[in-house]
Symmetry: C2
DNA sequence: GGAATAGTTAGGGATATGGCTAAACATCAA
DNA sequence: TTGATGTTTAGCCATATCCCTAACTATTCC
């Protein structure tokens, strides 16, 4: 299996689970403790913690323990790698459309070629 | 495990693998047959086909068989679900920053509150 | 101190993922 | 019609994922 997972892999894989996306959505409103974060989810805490671990591993959330309470927060720029890759992809696609357009224009100008 | 995978799940999970991202990058330049698509990858064809199947399943590529050749193409708007979710997330985050800003401004105006 | 609260560790189970080889089709070309 | 070409099917293996319960540790509060 994939031995060298890049940041991008981790980020996209982290986003590929509805629980984790919901966690991120919740954290967008502000930091929360693990228990508060977990409250809406019908899931045992250890399972929930695994999701947090993956998000932290992907660099998308940070967490800090104070006393017995661990507080989680969204990392600014958490989505940048994903957005950047998608933007690059969009450019590739548009470049291709431009080439196609140029090709069609050329054809119209010079139908016998 | 997740029984009801949404489109978003499929799209993000599809993007979470470097082989599949490379396939998409390659297809951005134009449609290709399976064998041509596969050429740069050091992987047995059946393994490669699994990746194609996942991309098609996620609605990101389409394919058509003519004779013995299957040609794959990027689906226009393949990335829309991913980009939309990320954009929504960005708005949430900015709304939160705005609230924080308003709070700080209020504090500065009325320090005793 | 003793009880409640917040997380963590350990271990297990079902299914999914990402890879392989070998063999089967299907079609085109000579 | 025979052989080469382009997939496709079948079946297997190792590891990862996502979920669970039970038991443990560390704090805080009365």
């Amino acid at each position: 299996m994939a031995k060298h997972q890049t940041d991008l892999d981790h980020v996209f894989l982290a986003l590929g689970d509805p629980t984790r996306r919901a966690i991120l959505e919740r954290l967008a409103a502000g930091p929360l403790s693990v228990t508060e974060l977990a409250r809406p989810f019908a899931m045992a805490l250890p399972s929930f913690m695994e999701h947090l671990k993956k998000l932290e591993n992907a660099g998308m959330i940070s967490s800090d323990k104070d006393g017995r309470v661990r507080t989680c927060a969204l990392v600014p720029g958490a989505f940048a790698p994903a957005r950047d890759w998608l933007a690059a992809q969009k450019h590739l696609w548009e470049a291709r459309l431009d080439r196609f357009d140029a090709f069609v224009t050329q054809l119209a100008k010079d139908p016998n070629e």
